[in-house]
């Protein structure tokens, strides 16, 4: 079992969950309707739970405990994709990101459920049941808003255009793609991206949206290697503000 490969995989997935969960939670009290405040908060809680689960496996592999990992690192030690660290912007962008990200998440955890690495497979079986609802929520709203009226349709199309290359950055290859695949731990980012395209493209088209020209596809890379936008630094500083008053204290 290639521990270095597993750790790299777990860190990036956990960091994605933590950061998107944090962003989702920022809608609390500020959503366009109360029901959406509540929905984004539910998803945020799930994502945080998923992050915690992944960090726990890392801890069992000898890394620091979940609180220390999440609340004590610097931004450049995070391996999330840049897509999830972008600020929430308006509801259109948040929703589009949620839709695109959660489809990738669902497929990823379905793959994990068949992983040869037992702890991951076990976690994934639980997690994928929750992501199902996130995907359902995203599908419903994308459909509703993309077809409701001119304003909402234009907003959703713009959000898609702005999100697309960032979304492709989810699938940035890691250092151990071949090892993970050979050992049956994870099919790899390339396979994940292909499946994701097969799922999201028809859904977007059905909602009447236009997928950006293939010639313009340029995945935003770097996040997996610790290169981030200033947004993540601000997010991490905020997230760890209280914890860092005394990292050894019980809070």
């Amino acid at each position: 079992m290639n521990v270095a490969a597993i750790k790299e995989l777990l860190y990036k997935v956990a960091d994605d969950q933590l950061v998107i969960g944090h962003r989702n939670s920022e809608w609390t009290g500020l959503g366009p309707i109360l029901e959406e405040d509540i929905a984004f908060s539910s998803m945020a809680q799930d994502k945080l739970g998923h992050a915690q689960g992944c960090y726990q496996i890392l801890h069992d592999l000898g890394e620091a405990n979940p609180d220390q990992i999440a609340f004590s690192r610097k931004a450049d030690q995070f391996h999330n994709c840049q897509f999830v660290e972008l600020p929430n912007g308006e509801y259109d962008f948040s929703l589009m990101r949620h839709f695109l990200y959660d489809h990738a998440d669902q497929i990823r955890f379905e793959m994990f459920a068949n992983s040869s690495f037992e702890p991951l497979a076990k976690l994934a079986k639980k997690v994928k049941g929750e992501i199902k609802y996130h995907v359902f929520h995203g599908n419903t709203w994308i459909n509703k808003l993309s077809t409701a009226n001119e304003v909402s349709k234009i907003r959703m199309q713009t959000a898609l255009n702005e999100s697309w290359n960032y979304a492709l950055g989810i699938f940035e290859a890691g250092n151990f793609e071949a090892e993970l695949k050979n050992e049956g731990i994870f099919e790899g980012e390339n396979a994940l991206q292909n499946k994701w395209l097969e799922v999201v493209c028809p859904l977007l088209e059905k909602a009447g949206l236009t997928i950006p020209e293939k010639s313009s596809w340029e995945p935003v890379l770097g996040g997996r290697k610790g290169y981030h936008l200033a947004h993540l630094e601000a997010l991490v500083a905020e997230m760890s503000e209280v914890f860092q008053i005394d990292p050894t204290a019980t809070w």
Binding site: T28, D37, I38, Q45, A148, N149, W251
Partner: protein, 331 residues
């Protein structure tokens, strides 16, 4: 939070004139039903004044939940550790859910959620005064979750025995959730109060800041007026402000002292002869100033809410597309 219906001082001296044009026979039947402990349901006959006061009260309560989510909500992104972050998210989510339940209950009386939210953001309707104070530190958020939610529970448990069916049923559900908030808040305060010197200092300072708003929470002593009397007779108002404040002090001051924390009021003590708590009279001028918009956060809270409404308008417009008639909830 926090069904504390503040009675407009201008209305306090109104007499029974509000009942002048009600049918005496229907009114007598209505009052007899309440006397017997029956619940009034949306389609039942009710005096105009009953409807008006209930809408005002439930609406204020709903607003308090949604505005109350703001000072606590700003600490979700800063909560220290997974356990606290998850619990605070769930708590604030509950509060937003309470607003949803309460707006639905108020809608059964004929005012739409949209109209209520409009009155909130234009400053026409009130919400609990405590949320016009800032939550400076993590410890402030913990004190809010413990003591403000504790106050809310006292108020809501009383109101749950009121006469209007939909409001009572909403409150029953809300009270169950509030009891978890109280536990969460207490656990947080215990952790800080028994923690490092820095944590103890944080929580004592937060308590000092929050004590005056907590004492204000239940509102000024009720003036004995025919107006208050009629609201109590109709079981719209279930306990006097002073009674609720006494109940709160009796339940929580000993717990605060047990934790080695002090209350910033040298006159606070229980009079063992009367069984009542004595305290320095809260500054009711300050209370009035804050409730009328002069508090440290009134402008900010409403601006945040207004901004959220503005930014979300296109979503609500889009939802209306294809939707035919508005359906009044079945609370």
């Amino acid at each position: 939070m926090y069904g504390n219906a503040y009675i407009d001082p201008n209305e306090v001296n109104k007499t029974h004139s509000v009942l002048a044009d009600e049918d005496p026979k229907l009114l007598a039947e209505f009052e007899a039903r309440i006397e017997r402990g029956e619940k009034i349901e949306p389609k039942d006959w009710m005096p105009k004044e009953y409807r008006k006061q209930l809408i005002r009260m439930i609406e204020q309560h709903g607003h308090s939940e949604i505005i109350g989510a703001l000072p606590e909500g700003t600490w979700i992104t800063r909560a220290p550790g997974f356990k606290r972050k998850l619990a605070l998210m769930a708590k604030v989510q509950d509060e937003v859910g309470h607003a949803q339940l309460l707006y639905s209950a108020a809608e059964t009386l004929g005012k739409s959620r949209e109209a209520m939210i409009n009155d909130l953001i234009t400053g026409k309707s009130k919400y609990s005064n405590v949320f016009n104070y800032p939550a400076f530190t993590w410890a402030d958020a913990c004190i809010i979750a413990w003591l403000i939610d504790a106050g809310a529970i006292i108020n809501q448990v009383a109101n749950a025995k009121g006469s209007y069916g939909p409001y009572c049923r909403a409150l029953d559900r809300i009270c169950t959730e509030e009891s978890f908030h109280l536990k969460y808040g207490h656990d947080n305060v215990v952790t800080l109060a028994t923690g490092t010197p820095v944590q103890r200092k944080m929580v004592q300072e937060a308590l000092n800041r929050w004590w005056p708003p907590i004492m204000h929470f239940f509102g000024p002593s009720d003036k004995i007026s025919s107006h208050t009397e009629i609201l109590m007779k109709w079981k719209v108002k279930m306990a006097t402000n002073d009674d609720m404040r006494q109940q709160f002090l009796n339940m929580y001051v000993p717990k605060i002292w047990d934790l080695g924390l002090t209350v910033p009021d040298a006159n606070l003590k229980k009079n063992e002869t009367t069984g009542k708590w004595e305290y320095t009279e809260p500054d009711w001028d300050e209370f009035k100033r804050v409730i009328n918009g002069g508090g440290p956060c009134n402008a900010e809270r409403l601006a945040v809410r207004r901004n959220a409404e503005e930014r979300g308008r296109w979503v609500r417009e889009a939802l209306k597309a294809g939707q035919t008639a508005y359906v009044v909830p079945f609370a």
